[in-house]
Amino acid sequence: MYVPIPKDIPLPQPASLFFLRILVVVTFIVHIAFVLLMVGGSLFALVYEVAGLRRPEYERLSKEIGKTVTVTKSLAVVLGVGILLIMNTLYTVYFYTANALTGTAWIMIIALVIAAFLLSYAHEYSWDLLADRKGLHIALAAGAVGLFLFIPLIFLANINLMLYPDQWDKVHGFLSTLVLPNVLPRYLHFLAATVAVTAFFLAWYFGLERFPVDGALPGFTRPQLRRHFFAIALGATAAQLLFGPLLYLTLPAQTISWGMTAVIGTGALLAVGVLGLLWMESRAPDERVGNRFWSVAGLLFLTVTFMAAGRHMVRENAIRPHRALVEAKTMAYMKKVAADQDFLIIPGGLGGAPEPPGESVFKKVCAACHAGRSRLVGPPITLIQAAYKNNPQGIVAWAKSPYKKLKGYPPMPPQHLPEDQLKAVADFLLTAQALNM
């Protein structure tokens, strides 16, 4: 089977690999956290707005959740720049290859996110304006949510494709990368995480002393809201018990190692702890709801950290053998490049036997368009000799400012070479030797 082995960019990494790998995991966690809150927040806002058609208190809830998206989406983008930067330098060959192979979809991310953001703003600032046209208002939210749910698929396809160099010559565009094993389970895993993390965040947000539940959300009590979102987080986390193993089992064999299994397994055990605490929270009496919040937060943070580390190990396992080949090939190539430096043959560069100045200028500047006896772009030298016999100064004057166009020929650009070079080339043009050019 053919596996492409491209060469890497032969410049050193900006920091030690160990440090960059820590950085890639940390920046991924901060980015993905806000992506989850952005996608999840929009999704919840949409669902509650639809529910609000029957029960107005849900519409107010939707409005409050929508406000958080204004913040989380801007942070999701700006925090994404960090991980993008590190992916660029650490996985140059893999990342750029996947980007190019899904190029159309990849660049469309920009337009799609802009569209999603503008729809979100239109929705956010038109609650009063479209109060009587609920359908349209909901359609704005639905449009944004649709885009928010689609865009992660493009990222996923890239992040997945970069791991499998043996697939690079088999894909033809973005859609074909979606059918690679593991894409769908990763997406389901992402969706469940979106709901779980957002619900957990909202349980915190509506629990804030500063948040005026009584004023802003009549029809709900604070403990009731918090139990509601703890319960949703519980359900979504429970779904991960299904999606997690599905994801693990569909991983290609080369990505799995005992170390990675141990890390993911620890994450999964911690998630079971999260489940237990969430279950208790979702059933806690009014005065006690939220007491275990920070325990859940701590456990959840650890879970996410272990999962992100495991995810990084999957990537390293997949790439490691191929990267060794890429490094060897890059080194061998750079050795050949270095060996050939002594043999500089760039036209007009150093080295080679010295040529008479006229001939060398002719070859460098004029030969592109003029030849001895045949027409290239400009007239042949035979014609030039006929026109300027014994008149090299005439050629110099012409070359400096070609004032008219010869019929049937494209115009010649003025040649502002030093006087002595122009003179030398003019003399050369009138020799018999020039006719052999």
Binding site: L11, A100, L101, G103, V113, K336, D340, A367, C369
Partner: protein
């Protein structure tokens, strides 16, 4: 050579980058770097005067800037990276390895800027009364952060214009201490202030349909703002104007290019003078008779400053050619140091994603097309912008195109056209490229990028 070749054969790859980058620069300069200090000053003035209508008007401006910068502005910034990594992965990949920590610092500033922006905009209506000073202070720090986003990125832009002696010792010193760094930074900063002023005046007209008294006062304030920034803007433009040709002479000692450059460059001076006269006239008019100035004045001012900026960007592009990274990498993405090897051993055997790794008697046209894709397609297309058939028609007209003549032309192309890189391959490869190009007179080919057709499968 070693990344799958993304290619837009109609739109042109460079156009994709240019479109996204120009949009980003204009939004970033006008609506963030320049707008944030302006609205903070406006807010402060309104607070001092205790004018609530004034404050409400400024808030409307802020909301417009907020919506545009956090959607189109932010995403086109990311888009510059996305598009450059598709179009020229060698160049952006090398730049990122070189400037990683500069960009990392830039990222940290971005995070601070966006966080402060969210606080500033979303708490505008809550931090009132006693807390107004705190809000204005936030605006001040936000303005500083926004200026700080220019500081690292201009160093990278300066490096691209003039890498100094970087290729000998790989030191970042040359980016920040480039002679073009300070003038460029100052030019962009002052330009941002003026653009923000003109744009705000335009918006103020829209938002003050009924309140003519308020309009008069705000227009006067912003006109004075523009007037105040005009002298530093004049100074910065002339300084920048003065420095750029010096780089040009240092980097490209090709006399031919100098003349073409001078033609382009003399038009910039005209635009500098024209913009400054227009600026002074419009802002004096606005300060003196605020209610009389028609709306198109500000639109015209915006257009003028945008054109001036565009001229400088063109000059920046011009002096860079034929290099992408001066003295290190050509516009094709091929490193200068790779030339000796590629010219002796060939492009094809050293490229991963080509359909054949050597020229054989029966693959001339396919090999020629592969060479075109590797060596030419970053700037040229077959059927769209800057396409080869049009170029060749310009040289050879409608007479039969002769492969041998084209071959000779390519062999000295960097002499005849100093903005073109020299041909990087062997004489044989040059010959099949010429044959392929000659065949374009009668044949049409699709040049589809890896994003649609993928990469060739297998090596022979």
């Amino acid at each position: 050579m070693d990344f799958p070749i993304f290619h837009l054969d109609f739109f042109g790859d460079r156009m994709l980058v240019a479109f996204i980058a120009i949009l980003h620069v204009l939004i970033n300069h006008a609506m963030a770097v320049g707008a944030l200090p302006l609205v903070t000053s406006l807010e402060w003035w309104g607070w001092r005067k205790g004018d609530e209508n004034w404050d409400r008007l400024v808030y409307k401006l802020v909301i417009v800037f907020f919506i545009v910068t956090t959607s189109v502005g932010a995403l086109t910034g990311v888009g510059i990276w996305f598009s450059t990594s598709l179009v020229n992965p060698y160049a952006i990949g090398s730049l990122i390895r070189i400037f990683f920590w500069v960009w990392f610092a830039e990222w940290v500033v971005f995070v601070v800027e966006v966080s402060l922006l969210l606080v500033y905009v979303l708490l505008w209506k809550r931090w009132t009364g006693d807390r107004k000073p705190r809000h204005i202070r936030t605006g001040f720090f936000l303005s500083v952060a926004s200026f700080c986003t220019l500081v690292p990125i201009v160093s990278i832009l300066s490096y691209i214009m003039d890498p100094g002696l970087w290729r000998f010792d790989h030191s970042l010193f040359y980016a920040f201490f480039s002679p073009v760094y300070m003038p460029q930074l100052l030019f962009r900063f002052c330009m941002a202030m003026i653009l923000a002023g003109a744009l705000s005046l335009f918006l103020v007209r829209v938002f003050t349909k009924s309140d003519h008294d308020l309009r008069t006062r705000v227009v006067r304030f912003i006109s004075l703002w523009i007037l105040a920034w005009a002298p530093p803007f004049a100074f910065a433009s002339l300084w920048y104007y003065d420095v750029v040709p010096k780089l040009m002479i240092k980097n490209l000692p090709v006399a031919l290019a100098t003349v073409e450059f001078q033609n382009l460059y003399s038009s910039i001076l005209k635009f500098i003078v024209l913009s400054l006269v227009a600026l002074a006239a419009a802002s004096l008019w606005g300060a003196w008779k605020p209610s009389r100035v028609p709306r198109w004045t500000w639109a015209a001012l915006i257009v003028l400053v945008v054109i001036l900026t565009g001229q400088f960007e063109r000059a920046r592009e011009f002096i860079r050619k034929p290099y992408m990274l001066g003295g290190y990498m050509y516009a094709s993405g091929i490193r200068v140091s790779d030339y000796p090897l590629l010219m002796t051993q060939g492009i094809l055997p050293n490229s991963e994603y080509v359909s054949s790794h050597k020229v054989t008697p029966d693959n001339h046209l396919q090999a020629g097309k592969d060479i075109f894709m590797v060596a030419c397609s970053r700037c040229h297309t077959l059927n769209g912008l800057n396409n080869m058939p049009a170029r060749l028609r310009g040289l050879y007209g409608n007479k039969p195109w002769n492969a041998k003549a084209i071959d000779t032309y390519i062999s000295t192309i960097h002499g005849a056209r100093p903005f073109m890189p020299p041909f990087p391959g062997t004489a044989r490869e040059r010959r099949v490229l010429a044959e392929f190009l000659a065949s374009l007179q009668t044949k049409r080919y699709n040049a589809e990028g890896a994003q649609t057709v993928g990469v060739p499968s297998g090596r022979e």
